[in-house]
């Protein structure tokens, strides 16, 4: 709902961090990790531009709430254990 110019502050102010924006909703393809082939090199974790990969016991776990499906992890993985799969 558009607010009147008289009701808004001088500049838009937000009191929530940007993590409220679940950017994972933008995704068209998602990374799927084949853990049997993973060498725990952490390259995917280092390259993820959204910090959407967590390491659990050294293995990548994708945070699908924020992963935009860019595919960088899949492209960079030397073991070729991450494949991009079309969303449902």
């Amino acid at each position: 709902m558009t607010k009147s110019y008289e009701e808004i502050p001088l500049t838009p102010i937000s009191n929530t961090p940007s993590t409220v924006n679940l950017t994972g909703l933008w995704r068209v393809v998602k990374p799927v990790v084949d853990k049997s082939m993973c060498k725990k090199c952490t390259i995917c974790w280092k390259y993820c531009p959204d910090a959407a990969i967590k390491l659990i016991d050294g293995e990548p776990v994708i945070d699908l709430l924020y992963c935009k499906g860019c595919g960088i992890c899949s492209f960079e993985c030397p073991a070729k254990c991450i494949v991009m799969v079309k969303e449902g």
Partner: protein, 395 residues
């Protein structure tokens, strides 16, 4: 206390007297001595401020934006390529409604490489949402910095301001300057206390995303603020005069314009030369005057409308050129008087680019030219003054 100082030192003293709390700057010719002097004030303890030497002008403005958001009074200074590198963040500063004050030592843009006076750098920032004040003297530089904080920090304005000093002609030329008493300045300019600021322990994002359904309302507010800045400039200058006994002409200084038949419109240091020429021509009985654009933003539209209804000709001198159009001051003057019942003959003179002197002789010739065409009618609207290869002789 009266002292002899350059325009750059006048800028530094202005920021010091205004008690700037954060100064972030990057050196560039011919601005460097402003921030050198301020660094000295900070290091000797004469000014209690945080001085941040940054790695670029873009960062200087970014640092000022952050500090101002946290409620600090900030100051920076730059010139030419430094100013244009700041362009993106200048728009951020005004959109975030931060009353930062900055000196721009107006200098030519390259190529051709040139460090002398030219207004292209300042004019190119016309649409960034900053108030712009062109100064004629070193005293005006110092005074305008102090006034600018008061104008810009008022709740109805909350926009940044650029104080424009002509390269070398003001920046490196010494003049007598009255440095007012700190107590007087403190009585005139209260500390900065914005209604809303970033505070430790209270997470807030400023200038965050709005969708098409809300964007225009924020721009409308900024428009209103710039419009009300017009009256604030006049009110604050009256208050300044009450305290310090000086004034500089509001948004449009009119010098001997009351009964003038033709007027020269100009901005910056050339106005000093022009006033001498006006006096000399008046002594010979010629009815000439000078209208000095002091504020280019907000533009003194009402003042021009009133002036235009009384004169037969207006010669607009631009110290820069907008390629594909004309001088920016000319197009603005022309637009502002269009709806007048009575319109004078208008002509644009492009002169003094890249630090070329605009001599009294040239100004005399401009008055001669505008007097003739205001009777006979105009042929070419825009004329470049004193360009080698062009037929007209100006000397």
């Amino acid at each position: 206390m009266r002292e002899v100082m350059t325009g750059n030192y006048a800028s530094a003293y202005g920021a010091k007297l205004a008690r700037a709390e954060v100064i972030a700057a990057y050196p560039i010719t011919p601005q460097t001595s402003i921030v050198e002097k301020l660094a000295e004030f900070v290091s000797t303890g004469e000014l209690r401020a945080k001085f941040i030497p940054v790695e670029s002008e873009h960062s200087a403005m970014a640092a000022c934006i952050a500090a101002e958001t946290a409620g600090a009074r900030t100051y920076t200074a730059t010139s030419s390529h430094g100013l244009t590198l700041m362009h993106e963040v200048l728009i951020w500063a005004s959109g975030a409604r931060l009353p930062i004050v900055m000196t721009n030592v107006s200098r030519a843009m390259a190529p051709p490489w040139n460090v002398w006076v030219d207004h292209m750098d300042s004019i190119a920032q016309r649409d960034t949402g900053w108030l712009q004040f062109f100064c004629q003297s070193n005293q005006e530089v110092l005074d305008t910095i102090i006034m600018a904080y008061k104008i810009c920090e008022s709740a109805r304005v909350m926009l940044p301001a650029m104080i424009i000093e002509d390269a070398f002609i003001l920046s490196h030329t010494s003049e007598p300057v009255d440095v007012p008493d700190q107590k007087l300045v403190d009585s005139f300019l209260p500390p900065y206390s914005p209604e809303l600021k970033l505070e430790v322990g209270k997470a807030m994002g400023f200038g965050s995303l709005v969708k098409p359904d809300q964007y225009m309302e924020f721009r409308y507010k900024a428009m209103e603020a710039m419009t009300s800045a017009h009256d604030r400039v006049l009110v604050v200058e009256r208050e300044f005069k009450d305290v310090f006994g000086r004034e500089h002409g509001g948004l449009l200084e009119r010098y001997r314009c009351e009964d003038a038949e033709v007027v020269l419109v100009a901005a910056g240091s050339v106005a000093g030369t022009a006033k001498d020429v006006v006096d000399a021509l008046r002594a010979k009985g010629q009815m000439v005057g000078l209208a000095r654009i002091r504020a280019f933003r907000p533009f003194p539209e009402q003042e021009f409308k009133a002036l235009a209804s009384k004169v037969a000709g207006m010669a607009v001198l631009d110290r820069s050129y907008t390629f594909g159009a004309a001088g920016a001051m000319f197009t603005e003057v022309k637009a502002s008087v269009y709806s007048n019942q009575k319109r004078p003959v208008l002509k644009n003179y492009i002169a003094g680019l890249g630090g070329r002197d605009i001599t009294p002789k040239i100004i005399e010739k401009i008055f001669e030219d505008i007097s003739v065409i205001s009777r006979r009618g105009i042929e070419d609207e825009v004329e470049w003054v004193e360009v080698a290869g062009l037929p007209r002789r100006w000397k």
